[in-house]
Amino acid sequence: MTSYIREFLGMEKPKGYYTELASEIEKKDAEYHAFTTLNRKIIDCSDGSVPFTTKANICVKGIETTAGSKMLKGYLPPFDATVVERMLNDGKFSFLGETNMDEFGFGTFGLNTEVPARNAFDKDYVAGGSSSGAAVATAMLKYHVAISESTGGSIATPAALNGVVGFTPTYGAVSRYGLIDYANSLDKIGVMARSADDARMVFDIIKGKDEYDTTCAVEKINDEGKDKIYIIRELMEKTEPAIKKAFEKMVDGVGKSYEIKEVSMPILAEAIAPYYIIAMAEASTNLAKYTGYKYGLQYGEFNRRYNDFFTEARSNFGIEAKRRIILGTFIRSESVKDKYYTKALAVRRMIIKEMAKLLNDGFMLSPTLPIPTPRVSDAMKLTSVQNYAMDIFTIPPNLGGFPHITFPYDYMDGMPMGAQLITGHANDYALLDFVSEWEKGFQYKYKHNLGSL
């Protein structure tokens, strides 16, 4: 069992520990941009609790929460998200700050925001997105856990690229109350940590029903071990050779304890389209409320017609947000809705059905990304469609609301590589068990260990 939380709680902290930690973070963060807000009040914290961060789309009372958007500059939520409330009530944790992200979660590499976070292993490389800051902070700080969020891979991708454990629970297991919506039927709050046991500890605190989120309805989390692991042929075919080779080597090792089966499930190679259709349709309605006068950005110029005011205020969205608003609005329009939105919902149901059947029988395992970590300069050259294709492994479980976990399994040219394990609805503990077991035979590496004692 590796638990940095327990280790930290059991240790004597020198006087001024948190003050020094905050200064160290500030210094490092000037290069890595993991944080959007650093809670300097944590300095007063003398109870020895473990620092936790929240992705910048999770509301913390009185703390500027922007979801990485200019439209929310200055938004001070008047309430705590349910997960924040539960973390603070637990008593073992104190709030360290909010972490950087792609605007409203729209991105695979963390680049769709004013000042993108950089990879904790090498700042020339992307941090991954959309929970870029959460992953970088987890890779920078020795004693810390990150509350993060995934819509289509926003936990798994940055966690994999920064070599940390990224756990995305079953949809509906953790309350979304206080989460600034991207696509409500897909959004899931989860955890990043340096070990599966730490992720489990945080999951146990934040999970469970909440009257403020109707969709948070999962009653019981199971722990059903499997003896089979499935690998999907159609997805592996789209993986770059270098990744494929490293992954297969890891699978060979795992094959000593599990029966490995390569199977065909062609529909999963088509999951990107329905995912982006549903995500954009929902996102375009969620972003309607940002009109520049109620909260966040105060556009101010009231002496004009509503439509002109809204149009001018809304020009402050970033380019990817604008793209998704326009595409999403088009998808919802009466003349094409059946062709796109209704069809996407049907394909989603088919994917859930096929995956559930397979996952009932065994885990699904894959690399988390089909390519090695790209450099920032290379990633910037990708078109939108090329960007969306990077989500090929992370989208199926996200579209189906299946719990999944990414964990470091190898290092290539000094950069971490992540693998993703998926299981059936509400079988989240089985994933955490698997990774705990993995950690017994594999030591994760980190470049930074801020806050070491």
């Binding site: 929310l72 008047p78 919506d181 109707t214 309605t285 409320k289 909260y295 509503y306 919802r332 939105y341």
Partner: protein, 432 residues
């Protein structure tokens, strides 16, 4: 002519549709608000089950088909009164569909009964546009009819029947009724909508104006535009808001924050159909069912009194007694026992006066003391009356029921028991 309605009714819940903010009346703007009804980033709706129960009662009363579960949609449009810039409403997953409301022997079909949230209120003060979010999130039910109403009379009857039905479900629409109308006239049946008409009186007036306007236009060979109009309460005119070639684009999608909600176990208030009850009560009596209906349509106390006393007193006496009570007394201070005294007096044949009603309600004993006369004295009195009123005698010869009028006039004038007068009067008149 075809008239269809979309009637919006505020449901009588203690809290709002998607949050726990109070629905109590208040004069302080923006005092009953929270992150949810302000649509703050991070907030989510949670469904008020009392509103679902109330809406289910309405769907049931309108004979709608009701599914085991309901779902919601987002209707997206940009307007300052709409906090999220989408309204949470219902479509396919609406609480009721394919129902009807009976009006005087005709069925007006109900297309859909749906639950939705009210936006904030826009208050204009001089150059300023102010927003009061107390109203934001008020639970509404929208009742959508098919265009089955064909006359102003039917429209009145529809509204009256709907109002009565809602009243018995605990929903008062006297002030709050808000409706959109659609009216089309032959031969071309071009659909004209009149939006946001508030109050029953305005609804009738707007309809009347619109029918006249369209009739004149057709008569004068002016075209009728397919358009949306507004009703101006001051000028009592409808005014064109916008012409429309196609339906508005609202980009509906399923509301993903509210999953399908099971209603198979939801309890609701059963409907009271006053028209049907009145007909049943009046059957075999000389009371007009219309009278019963008028008394009881918006008065559950009166309906209760009729039910309570119907074996004990004649229906006519009960109705008459209630009418007297309603005319002179007030509900707050009256007990059923006191109202029964009034009914008893009517039954005994007394002419119940204002003083008598007030005395009874003040707890005083009211007894009617009749003069006692011999048959001879009575006969003399009746003969004198008939001599003075030859017209009534003529009338009687044509219609024997006139005897009741003669009896009542003589009894009241001389403080006699009508039964005593009746005995002698029928003897005399029959022998004449």
């Amino acid at each position: 002519m075809k008239i269809g309605l979309e009637v919006h009714v505020a449901l009588p819940t203690k809290s709002k549709l998607f949050c726990s903010c109070s629905m109590a009346d208040t004069d302080a703007p923006n005092s009953q608000i929270c992150p949810i009804c302000l649509g703050f980033p991070g907030s989510k709706p949670m469904l008020n089950e009392a509103a679902v129960s109330s809406a289910l009662g309405i769907a049931n009363a309108l004979h709608c088909a009701v599914n085991n579960s309901i779902s919601f949609v987002r209707k997206v449009y940009f307007y300052p009164d709409l906090p999220k810039c989408y309204q949470i409403t219902q479509m396919d997953g609406a609480i009721g569909s394919a129902g009807h409301l009976d009006i005087d022997g005709k069925k007006v079909r109900i297309r859909r009964v749906q639950i939705e949230e009210d936006p904030a209120q826009i208050v204009r003060e001089g150059m300023l546009t102010l927003l009061d979010f107390n109203r934001s999130g008020t639970p509404l039910v929208e009742i959508v009819t098919e265009p089955d109403i064909t006359t102003e009379e039917e429209l009145r009857s529809f509204i009256a029947n709907l109002r009565s039905l809602l009243y018995y479900l605990g929903v008062d629409i006297n002030k709050e009724i808000k409706a959109d109308l659609n009216i089309s006239l032959p031969p071309k049946d071009i659909r004209v909508e009149v939006k946001n008409v508030t109050g029953i009186k305005s609804l009738i007036e707007a309809t009347r104006f619109e029918i006249e306007r369209q009739t004149d236009a057709i008569k004068n060979n002016e075209g009728i535009a397919r358009e949306t109009r507004g009703y101006n309460e001051k000028s009592k005119l409808t005014e064109s808001l916008r012409e429309k070639e196609t339906d508005e684009e609202y980009g509906y999608i399923y509301e993903p924050d509210l999953t399908t909600f099971e209603i198979s176990g939801t309890k609701f208030v059963k409907a009271t159909y006053v028209g049907r009850i009145a007909s049943e009560l009046a059957e075999g009596t000389d009371v007009n069912p219309r009278t019963i209906r008028e008394i009881t349509m918006l008065d559950r106390h009166s309906l209760g009194l009729i039910d309570k006393f119907k074996g004990k007193y004649g229906l006519r006496s009960i109705i008459h007694g209630i009418q007297r009570f309603k005319k002179y007394g007030s509900e707050e201070h009256a007990s059923d026992a006191e109202i029964e005294k009034i009914i008893g007096l009517v039954e005994s044949g007394a002419e119940v006066t204002r003083e008598m009603v007030l005395d009874i309600l003040a707890g005083k004993d009211v007894k009617v003391e009749y003069s006692r006369l011999t048959d001879g004295q009575l006969d003399k009195m009746i003969k004198e009356f008939l001599e003075k009123n030859p017209k009534l005698l003529e009338e009687y010869k044509k219609n024997s029921k006139t005897i009741n009028l003669i009896i009542n006039q003589i009894a009241q004038k001389n403080n006699l028991h009508p039964k005593d007068v009746a005995k002698r009067a029928s003897a005399l008149l029959n022998s004449a």
